[in-house]
Amino acid sequence: MAAGLASALVLAPEVFAGTTVLWRVAWLPEWGLDFALRLDGLGLLFTILILGIGVLIVLYAAYYLPKTDDLHRFYISLLGFAGGMLGIVLAENIVLMVVFWEVTSLTSFLLIAYKYQEVEARISARMALAVTGGGGLALLAGVLLLGSVAGSFDFSVIEARAGDVRADPLYPVILILFLLGAFTKSAQFPFHFWLPHAMAAPTPVSAYLHSATMVKAGVFLLARMYPVLAGTDLWFVIVSTVGAITFVYGAYVALLKHDLKGLLAYSTVSHLGLITLLFGLNTPLAAVAAVFHIVNHAIFKASLFMAAGIIDHETGTRDMRRMGGLFYSMPRTAVLAILAAGSMAGVPLLNGFLSKEMFFTAAVAHPGFDGANLILPVVATIGGMFAVAYSVRFVWDVFFGQPPQDMPKTPHEPPGWMRLPVEILVALVLFVGFLPQFSVGPLLTVAAEAVLPGAVPEIKLAIWHGFNLPLAMTVVAFGLGVFQFTRRHKLYALQERYTWRLTSPVAFERFYRGATRVSTSVMALVDSRSLQRNLVLFFSFVLVLGVWAWWTTGRAAGWVSTLTGPLPVGEVDLASAFAFAVLLFGAVSTVVYRRNRVMAVIFMSVTGAVVSLAFLRFHAPDLALTQLSVEVVTIVLLLMCLRYLPETPVAQSTGSRRLRDGVLATAAGVGVSAMAYAMLTRPYETIAGYHMANAKPGGGGTNVVNVILVDFRGYDTLGEIVVLAMAALGLHALLSGTRMQGPPTVALAKADRYPIMLAELMRPLLPLSLAVAVYIFLRGHNLPGGGFIAGLVAAVALMLQYVAGGVDFASERLRLNYVRLLGVGLGIATLTGVASFWFGASFLTSTHGYVYPPVIDKFELASAMAFDLGVFLVVIGTVLLAMTEIAALRRGETTAPAGAPAKDRG
């Protein structure tokens, strides 16, 4: 920090010479975010403030914080904060400023929660984050808008286009967003409430962040943006009103606080309000006063906080009602604190007096408040009065007044090093107070030059301006303030009766919990976690979107005519009508009998058979064969699983739900029918001619469907067997280790479990079926068939051995690791594809040719056949792994010791 301060001071001469030092590293130039910094007077002033006080705070904290704490957390956060704060004041790119802005919010969050064991610290931290972080987001929006209006995110450019900005229709929006950022950060009413609770942080943090620096980021923003955004009526109305309210309200509440840091916190709120009010006045003088007061407040408030910390540290309490007479036990600290408090109250010869005088002057001199309209001077005086009152109270209650009541520790002076920072700051209070022009004059001037767009008024920093209205106001404020102080107990009583607790951490937590509760109920309402509900939403969404697309796009051609194409419609033959009737019967019966599960399976298979026959009828033998075999294997799997499902299904859904689902299902059906009819009655242009033409010469097969499968689109087929293998692997992973029992059944005789005729006849059937499988496999490329169907035939034949002889019997004889079989199958298919790399061709490029083994006639061998072998093996592995795993679910049922807990609770 000291190094930073030093380097800032190195650059200071340039700044004093009127140059703005710019420095830039590109970060995201296209999107307006650059690491661009500027050092102008305002920046320099704040840099000195941040770093200077920062050094003192670090020194102070070294003695303040117990050594046992994880101090590194504190220092890292504090340094992070200082960096963020510096970034804010030095940013040339205003997006970058937002970046640093949020860094300070975040580090503030961490520092407030430093003592996280205390619930209040945790909640206060979150509350502060919510308010300042939220304001930062508003600021971000404002910055982005401003950048878009001004055409750049560089402050220099924006400043140059200030007039355009103020004339832009978006100006009010931008202004409000910026002010939201400034007001939340600087704890302006009604966003002030987080600041007093931020006092849960250790005192060095309070001194640094919540009085000297971070809360100044808001008013810094007002200062920084003053040349761009100020000068309008809107600015005046909002900023000065909010500032005034905060000024008075903060001061009033400060008087009521019994907690030392609470008083100081509300006093900070009040002073920030004062600064805001000054910026809001839209006059150069007021702006200069504001900048000046920023400096003064930082100095005296930091010293006050540190003094309060010393008192807390040495007495063990911060409750002013419990202390008193400390002047006698810690006189040095007392003197320092009294001087600082005097500055806070605006006692002459102390720096606070100077800026307050300027404020009163600005209030009186404001063109909007002439003799007739005295509201501003009155407000100023009332605020000043409360400031005097709480300052006096602070001094009196702590250092004088009644003797201390049961304080946890016996107070004594702190170590000298701990007091040193306070001493330095109070020295500054005096130095500025006595020699304003010499001490801060030049700095204030360059800072004011940076803030004020036009000519800077001559800044007369003097202790004595003669007898004038401001002086009178000061006197009045002092008189009333002291009077107020003497009557303070009445106010306390009032406060006890009408405590306004809406802004406490408890309230914040309650609010947060409320939001959580509301969200939870909303989620419960919209997301029932029910699959059925999600499915209803899905199908409804599809329908709505489909109908909408048709409605809006089909308008041009006439809605209904879009559904009917020009092709002539074929006649219905008797067989087709019959098949249609069977299909209808099967499908509807499946629905009707869904609760009698075997029946439902039977009807479903009837339906599937009709579909298969339809495929055959329309010249798709491959499809018919595949569909048929797949269906049977599916049914076997279904039946195997059915064994473990409860006999009586769960309760039926209500009538209204069935009606709803029925309507939805019908609508889906109508939709598919309509689209199908639209398709069937339209001619189309297809790329398939290429496949027909190239299947034989290019793919080496005459069954174009198969050549597409293993060659033109062999990649799809590879994916398809990957899916199959994964399905098998997935169920293997799911079921391994799972044991289930079905509903209790009568123990079966062996003859019933392995019916003898089945067992005996399956044995000759196996080799014969395998021969058939080989036959189907080999002819696939030229005629319907191929690896998939062959695999299913072989798998079914092997499966029958399991059915007939049992798992133990078959597994003993079929020593195959099906997982490995899947790997081998996939491996063969993949290798076939990779093999083409050696010929410099892409994956899965096929080659084919005739081989002439002895005796055998010419036998066409396509590389695609090896691919098909992979398919074949994967299918076998999949089916058998599925079968054996599901069958194995019951294993151990008989050998399990009696009374063993059943996995299956059905």
Binding site: I756, L766, P767, L768, L770, A771, V774, Y775, R813, V855
Partner: protein
């Protein structure tokens, strides 16, 4: 295990596969036969585990004779069944009958049971190798012992001859 047993564990099966292959391929060219025989040799090697290891005697002549008998019976008796089905179905005397078995080989018993099922009028419900009976169901059984006799002489005796037991 001799080399022949190892190479051709199931000669009948090998031939059956080769024949099936020829049937499926639809020709009897050299290549087809060779491929069929190759499969006939390879598949039994792969599936031999499923066979309880008993390459048994098999009398082809007797088998062919039985086949003709069975085919004849199937055709003729189906006409008889047609008469029953289309006639007065309420008057039929269907009943369960136990046929005692002479063989203790479940394989032979199964073939017998299959034949019983395929020939009209009778249907094998179950085989009980412990009690050595076949439970059958007759569609119209006026005389139970006549039925048992017919089964034993017409089918069981030739089967025992074929398999030499």
């Amino acid at each position: 295990m001799t080399l022949r047993e190892w190479l051709v564990p199931q000669p009948i099966l090998t031939l059956a596969i080769a024949a099936l292959w020829a049937l499926l391929a639809g020709d009897v060219s050299g290549g087809t036969l060779l491929l069929g025989l190759t499969l006939g040799l390879l598949i039994p090697v792969f599936t031999s585990q499923f066979w309880p290891g008993r390459p048994r005697t098999f009398r082809v002549g007797a088998a062919l004779r039985l086949m003709f008998v069975v085919v004849y019976d199937i055709i003729v008796a189906n006409v008889a069944v047609a008469r029953i089905v289309l006639g007065n179905v309420q008057g039929i005397k269907s009943k369960f009958v136990d046929v005692p078995l002479d063989t203790d080989d479940p394989y032979v018993a199964t073939i017998l049971a299959s034949i019983i099922t395929l020939t009209p009028g009778t249907l094998s419900i179950d085989i009980d190798m412990d009690k050595r009976v076949a439970h059958i169901h007759g569609l119209d059984v006026p005389d139970q012992s006549l039925l048992i006799d017919e089964i034993k002489t017409r089918y069981e005796a030739p089967l025992k001859e074929i398999f030499g037991c």
